[in-house]
């Protein structure tokens, strides 16, 4: 991860707004890098060869998108993306818990990806008009790739939910498990009001409403029942015990030889 992007706008940001922007970018980057890692765990293990290839693509895309968000942070703070990914411990990560959960079965994997892809797609749509130009440019870049993800995962959710008794049961079980975690995607960060006021980020309430509407109608049409469980409202610095285990694996090689050139 060494490609530097050139900031297309040099905006003078006050300290509070800068911090708010970095916090949101880090949340987006960490979500994608951790989800990308979980997706990559399917390489060599997916149920059929086509899906093995598809998951490897999805993983590579998510990690590529993470890199773009980390580079936007680098442009603002000078932090190196490799350092951020390989040398931060779990408490410093800002991903939601949903993406750090173990990969589970195929239904779980497809549903998690679908819930995330839809969130990301709606967010990117809104970021196209961000007043922070580098963010709008990056959203335009990533959005088309995400269209392929969304189509793929929503098709799989449909196929499994309306498939056999077993596939339906597994999809419902995945929904029961994931539903409370998905709510954490919309937990506000302390700087959100500043970002909204600056026109950098959309209102998270409106984003959540759009996401909920789309998810509700899609999943209930698939004969799935949305569980009434309590949503996860933890802040993004709170993690399950799965994250340190994941990081142990993901960061091991980089930490053995911190000065190695790749």
């Amino acid at each position: 991860m060494t490609t530097a992007t050139t900031p297309t706008t040099t905006t003078t940001l006050d300290t509070e707004l800068l911090q708010a922007l970095v916090d949101r970018l880090l949340a987006m980057a960490d979500d994608e890098v951790i989800l990308g890692h979980r997706d990559a765990e399917w390489t060599g293990h997916a149920p059929i060869l086509e899906e093995d290839i598809a998951m490897a693509n999805l993983a590579q895309d998510e990690i590529g998108h993470a890199l773009i968000w980390y580079q936007l942070i680098e442009d603002l703070t000078g932090q190196d993306p490799d350092q951020m990914v390989y040398f931060r411990d779990a408490p410093a990560y800002r991903n939601v818990q949903m993406v750090e959960l173990p990969k589970g079965d195929w239904a779980f994997t497809m549903l998690r990806q679908y819930l995330f892809d839809l969130y990301e797609r709606l967010l990117l749509d809104r970021l196209l008009t961000s007043a922070y130009r580098p963010l709008a440019d990056a959203a335009a870049k990533i959005r088309r790739e995400e269209i392929y993800h969304y189509r793929h995962t929503s098709t799989w959710v449909e196929r499994l939910a309306l498939g056999t008794d077993e596939s339906h049961r597994r999809m419902q079980a995945a929904l029961d498990r994931l539903w409370p975690f998905a709510a954490q995607l919309f937990v506000p960060l302390s700087g959100d009001a500043a970002l909204l006021a600056a026109g950098f980020f959309p209102a998270m309430d409106e984003l959540r409403a759009a996401w909920q509407e789309a998810v509700h109608s899609f999943l209930t049409n698939m004969n799935l029942t949305l569980p009434q469980t309590r949503p996860v409202t933890a802040e993004r610095d709170q993690h399950t015990h799965w994250l340190p285990i994941l990081l142990g694996e993901m960061q091991m090689v980089a930490r053995i030889e911190p000065d190695a050139a790749w």
Binding site: T6, E50, N57, R133, A140, K141, R144, Y148
Partner: protein, 166 residues
Amino acid sequence: MTVQGHKTYSEATIWEALKEVMDPEIPVLSLVDLGVVREVKVTDAGVTVVMTPTFAGCPALEVMRRQVEEKLREMAAPNPKVEMVLEPAWTSDCITPEGRRKLESFGLAPPPVHGGDLAIMLNPVVRCPYCGSLQTRVTNTFGSTLCRAIYYCDGCQQAFEQFKPL
């Protein structure tokens, strides 16, 4: 514009030279054919090539960047630099007509020109690069690299790959 000193370099010479830098994953296609070279700037300060990535996660990006730097050094271009920009975002429409012909001859179906229309992007009519049949169907929208989808031709009964529209 030209640079004083060693030799003279025009923007046109640099563009010509970049036509010899090939996509590491599709060796018949130059970076110019691929449409990833946005701009060549020759100023008193030196030579800068402005590039843009195809797929964000494409690992060939770093290789392309190094190849361009190497080419500039090989030409002894003064103060060679490669700059990456995201805007305007690359789409498969940036592949030149010449590039599309090369893709097809390489056995990769070229992407349709979609002009941002998602219906065309997601459901293209794809011609088999081997036999020219339009009786083809997608078997996987994800392929051996981020930019490829896998198709099957009912005409000649062979699998083939398509450069994926983006």
